[in-house]
């Protein structure tokens, strides 16, 4: 499905398409880029986009953004996801960057923004703590002022790719007596500081994506406080609301659907009754994608006309993750007996993996995608949000 584009926008789309085709690094095209790329490999595309000036579509021009319209941002997003490129690290460009240029002081802007754009600094997010789940206001990590430093003690968890990070942006409790959401501050912490320890968490698919981060008497310069002390919840909420349509994951779902169709074609003869059943199940997911994409286009068109889309992000998160989980399940089912096998991590070329190439990640993806309905505010929480914000319940 395509937006009806003006000639200029259509030319832009073609330019993006061609740029990706000519420049996306071949060595990033691995089966599972989320888990199988080294840090250096992940940064290759980041640097190419940075050189082109396209690394931060959402940023205002004065901080290094390309100054695109909403439509162009959408085109860029659509083209990059459809082409299956690995998006630049969201924690840096999409998440902490906008917080810094919106709420940070000039010194912070000058220090951090260029290094985010260039990929020099790799950021991770210190929100979740053991026991906090989707209830982020239960921050227990403490930051106590000591002269021009804070002394930070606490335990962050589910920290994605912390093993590569140079910096972590943290919610910390600076006023233990205030109400849960009022005593929280937003602090930037250098991962090389003494007292910071990272411990891997291995997930059920065998991969190492997330980590525990322990903070023991970590001395953080007070200069690294964003905005005002005890106002951190405001900035955190701004950040959570900053994502919009990308959560629908249309591009990703479309690519995985196409792969699924190929697997069914190759694995299941047409005269097997299972074939028709797959066709039916796949088509129903395809129609789910179609309806979600049409909704995404409608919301983008509304936003371009200045209409606030409300909690559309929650809708996209719910349906986008349900759809993708469904696709990974069907793929796992389609691959049949080979679904018993799982790749071993860290991935090594010496390990034997049975069955056709296209099935090697079926189990892994199936297992890994279980997280989608949990992370980033569980789907139950997203439904609570819509119930409150849209339905007034």
């Amino acid at each position: 499905m395509e937006l009806a584009l003006s000639p200029d926008d259509a030319a832009f789309r073609d330019e993006v398409r061609a740029f990706i085709k000519d420049n996306y690094p071949a060595e990033m095209r691995v089966a599972n880029p989320e888990t199988d790329l080294s840090k250096e490999q992940m940064l290759l595309w980041h640097r190419i986009l940075h050189n082109k000036g396209w690394i931060a579509p959402l940023w205002p021009k004065e901080y290094g953004g390309p100054g695109w319209s909403i439509t162009r941002r959408f085109i860029f997003e659509q083209e990059t996801t459809r082409a299956g490129t690995m998006p630049p690290l969201a924690f840096s460009v999409t998440m902490v960057g906008p917080v810094i240029y919106t709420f940070g002081n000039d010194a912070q802007k000058n220090k951090f923004l260029p290094r985010i754009l260039s990929g020099e600094d790799w950021w991770c997010q210190g929100y979740s703590e053991p026991g906090s789940g989707s209830d982020l206001a239960t921050v227990r990590t403490k930051a106590v002022r000591d002269g021009d430093h804070y002394i930070v003690n606490g335990h962050k968890t589910w920290t994605t790719l912390a093993q590569h990070a140079d910096w972590i942006f943290c919610l910390v409790r600076t006023d233990p007596t205030a109400k849960p959401q009022s005593g929280i501050s937003f602090l930037l912490i250098d991962m090389k500081s003494p007292g910071v320890t990272v411990r891997p968490i291995i997930t059920i698919d065998g991969s190492h994506e997330v980590n525990d981060v322990f903070l023991e008497n970590v001395r953080v310069p007070a200069d690294n406080l964003i905005g005002e002390e005890n106002k951190g919840w405001t900035y955190a909420k701004f950040l959570l609301g900053n994502e919009r349509t990308s959560m629908a994951g249309i591009g990703r779902s479309t690519r995985y659907l196409n792969r699924l169709k190929k697997i069914v074609k190759a694995e299941i003869p047409e005269d097997d009754p299972a074939h028709l059943e797959f066709i039916r199940d796949i088509t129903r997911v395809e129609l789910d994608v179609l309806a979600l994409e049409a909704t995404e286009l409608r919301v983008v068109a509304q936003m371009a006309r200045g209409i606030d889309p409300g909690p559309a992000a929650s809708l996209f998160k719910i349906r986008g993750t349900e759809i993708f989980q469904n696709i990974t399940e069907l793929t796992h089912r389609a691959i049949g007996n080979y679904g018993l096998a799982i790749r071993e991590h860290p991935v090594s070329a010496n390990r034997f993996m049975p069955g056709p190439d296209y099935g090697h990640t079926a189990s892994e993806k199936y297992l890994n995608s279980r997280k989608l309905s949990i992370y980033g505010g569980s789907n139950e929480i997203q439904r609570n949000i819509i119930a409150k914000a849209v339905l007034g319940l």
Partner: protein, 376 residues
């Protein structure tokens, strides 16, 4: 994407809304349905006067040139008010077919009468065992002088008892399931040897089993090419029915939400129960998604895009399943009240369930979507 309506389209919408608000509330509709005829002739005349019956036709055919987008606007409102008059059958289906494949003389005569509101039409295509396949036709048409004579049985022809004319699919050559060899004919509903056995439908309409035993018919379009004409016609009909379903879904959601905020159980409003909240969130999502698909389909019909037939099947299926989900839950959340004939909720349920049968059920269109994909 979101359709930004033109001033004309906004005007059309608000005038339909005003008319229905004034003249077609649930009580008025109940009286119409309960009447001997089961039809609001007066309302139909108002539709004509307001230009609704002219809206989708091209200006060349004497219409207002509003095309599928005006159909969408009208049908969404008709869906909200559960309008029973045969707009889809007369204007969208029969009118659309005549405009598409009719001769100049046929257009001149028939479309003028449709726009004036003086003639009603129905399409007789289903037969025993045809289920949803347009090509399965056992009714035959034999050449006889400069006309044709039709013999066969048509089933479940919605709006037939109200109609002045029927468009009948009949076989001029080939075998029962052949795609080729089916032709379309205009038949006078009061013609000799044509018998109706009328019955009421679940959604407050009238339909009939139609028996043709040597009935004279006038060829519409080219001989043997009826299936292709019917396919294009079905796409437009699906566009109209999807808009109607979306209108009904929106009303059901609004009614359910409001009910949940006033109705108390165990000392609190039922809208405070998380299980029902999440159910209503899923109903909201269903409405958003069907709204988007409806617009997308109407735009494609408007631009006569290449993939419109496939998209029509996709929308019919997805909107059908979504409508069923919403209707089920609206009745469930209204509790006993939802089961009564008095409340409008059950009537939306029944209309949605009939839409899901007309021109193919959701399961049929899922497979059709897949087949058209494989063919592409």
């Amino acid at each position: 994407m979101d359709i930004q309506f033109t001033e004309e389209q906004e005007l059309l919408r608000s005038s339909v809304q005003r008319l229905l608000r004034d003249q077609y509330d649930f009580e008025a509709r109940r009286k119409i349905v309960a009447s001997e005829d089961g039809l609001g002739r007066k309302q139909w005349a108002e539709f004509a006067e307001l230009g609704l019956l002219a809206a989708p036709f091209s200006e060349a055919a004497g219409g207002l040139g509003g095309g599928p987008l005006s159909t969408m606007i009208i049908m969404q409102e008709f869906g909200r008010h559960l309008v029973v008059e045969p707009f889809v059958e007369t204007v969208v289906v029969a009118g659309g077919l005549i405009e598409q494949v009719g001769s100049d003389a046929q257009k001149q005569s028939y479309i003028t009468d449709i726009i004036a509101g003086t003639k009603l039409w129905a399409l007789a295509w289903t037969e025993k065992g045809s289920r949803f396949d347009l090509a399965t036709v056992a009714t035959t048409a034999r050449r006889d002088g400069d006309g044709y004579v039709l013999t066969g049985e048509k089933t479940a022809v919605v709006a037939a008892p109200w109609s002045d004319y029927l468009i009948v699919s009949a076989r001029t050559s080939g075998h029962r399931h052949d795609r080729g060899g089916v032709s379309l004919f205009v038949v006078d509903r009061r013609a000799a040897n044509l018998d109706l056995q009328s019955f009421k439908t679940v959604d407050g309409r009238r339909a009939a089993e139609v028996s043709l035993r040597g009935v004279r018919g006038e060829l519409l379009g080219r001989e043997g090419e009826g299936v292709a004409a019917l396919e294009a016609c079905r796409n437009r009909a699906i566009g109209a029915l999807c808009a109607e379903a979306v209108g009904a879904i929106g009303e059901l959601n609004a009614a359910t939400l409001e009910y949940s905020k006033t109705r108390k159980q165990f000392g609190v409003t039922i809208g405070s129960f998380q299980v029902l909240q999440h159910r209503m969130v899923d109903m909201f999502i269903a409405h958003q998604e069907t709204l988007s698909l409806m617009q997308h389909l109407s735009l494609s019909l408007n631009d006569d895009e290449a993939g419109v037939s496939r998209l029509a099947s996709g929308a019919k299926s997805k909107i059908g399943y979504a409508g069923k989900f919403v209707a089920d839950q609206a009745v469930q959340l209204h509790g006993g009240m939802g089961m009564t004939d008095e409340l409008n909720v059950g009537h939306y349920f029944k209309r949605i369930s009939s839409i899901n049968i007309q021109f193919g059920d959701p399961a049929y269109h899922v497979l059709r979507y897949a087949q058209l994909d494989a063919a592409a």
